[in-house]
């Protein structure tokens, strides 16, 4: 029963009784498609039964209870807004500020620990090398000159090599 007209009538009947025009359309449809009659009747019975379901139990003083709760609630923020506005502001932003502070402390501590561990690793590597090549202070007397040599541009060396060739 995928006929669009049938579907339209079916969906309308789920929500409300069909109007006279729809009822006429239905009768015409069922006359042309008698095989749909049984399904339609079954569907209508289900709809009727769903409509007949009793309303959920509701206490007779429900509205009074709601109004009382609302009245109590309405009193709270007004006091907070007038006398303790700054307190509400602090309460609102304090958790965020605390979270941000905590995150910052974690980042700084992590970075410090990372650097400390790197330094410790370096010290370990140096210590491992020491027994192999005991450092003599005289060996380091030309250290600065050697370091500068390695940083000097290589263009001059290339020019000299060209001239020699």
């Amino acid at each position: 029963m995928n006929d669009p007209l049938y579907q339209k009538l079916l969906e309308a009947s789920w929500q409300r009784p069909l109007n006279s025009e729809e009822e006429a359309e239905l009768q015409a449809y069922l006359a042309a498609h008698p095989e749909a009659q049984a399904e339609w009747e079954e569907d209508i019975l289900l709809t009727q039964q769903l409509r007949q379901l009793p309303a959920a139990p509701l206490s007779s003083n429900f509205t009074a209870l709601v109004l009382q709760t609302v009245k109590a609630e309405a009193g709270k923020p007004r006091r907070a807004a007038t006398s303790f506005g700054w307190l509400a502001w602090v309460r609102h932003y304090l958790p965020r500020a605390a979270s941000a502070g905590l995150a910052l402390v974690l980042v700084i501590t992590g970075s410090y620990q990372y650097r400390a561990s790197r330094r410790a690793q370096l010290a370990k590597s140096v210590a491992a090398l020491l027994p192999v090549t005991p450092l003599n202070p005289e060996m380091l007397q030309d250290f600065d000159a050697i370091v500068q040599l390695s940083q000097a541009p290589t263009v001059a060396d290339e020019d000299l090599l060209g001239a020699l060739e």
Partner: protein, 203 residues
């Protein structure tokens, strides 16, 4: 084509201006539909009433920020469904306890006054009661989205487009949810449908 003005949205705008009477009118109008949804979603009258109260409290609290962007009914049923889903999630995490406990020791609220709806029924009503129980049972066994779609459809307060907005899915998906829910109910209640036991008095 312009949409017709929504009288409930107009009432809500009055609530926004601080009109308590307008709020009371809205509570009176929507308390039963909201309660029906909460009761059939949660399956417990006391919890459902707590949720229904929270729905109206939420409506009141949101009044200052309220803008007419959709029909009021769509808005309030969205709040109601979200609170029901929160309650179901809370219940799955903490199996015991109610919303009042969560709210944390307010003043003791005045007792609820339920009417006695279980008065003596003549024998001919027993069959109807039994059938109602079967339908309630079958409804309760449906997935939440299918059940909610079916309940909105039954109440007729919302159009299919508005139901889709509350359920957060497309129009086609909403209709499909209703189709599937009805197919499941028909399957489960087939013996009663076939026997004609539901055929009421002729109109």
């Amino acid at each position: 084509m312009s949409t017709p003005p929504d009288p409930d949205a107009a009432l809500m705008l009055r609530v926004k201006q601080g009109d308590g009477e307008a709020f009371e009118v809205l509570v009176e109008k929507y308390k039963q539909p909201v309660m029906n949804l909460a009761y059939r979603t949660l399956g417990d009258a006391a919890e459902a009433e707590d949720v229904a109260q929270h729905v109206f409290l939420q409506v009141f609290k949101s009044a200052r920020r309220y803008e007419v962007s959709a029909r009021f009914s769509t808005w309030i049923f969205t709040i109601a469904r979200n609170l029901c889903l929160n309650e179901l999630r809370r219940r799955s995490r903490h199996p015991a306890g109610s919303l009042d406990e969560m709210a944390g020791g307010h003043d003791e609220p005045p007792g609820r006054q339920f009417e006695d709806t279980h008065a003596f029924s003549p024998p001919e009503n027993l069959l109807q009661s039994e059938l109602e129980a079967k339908v309630e049972q079958a409804l309760a066994a449906l997935p939440e989205k299918q059940r909610t779609a079916l309940l909105f459809c039954r109440q007729g307060d919302l159009s299919y487009e508005e139901m889709a907005a509350v359920l957060g899915c497309s129009l086609a998906a909403t209709k499909s949810l209703i189709h599937r829910a009805r197919a499941t109910l028909k399957e489960q209640l087939k013996p009663y449908l076939r026997s004609g036991a539901w055929r009421g008095p002729p109109h």
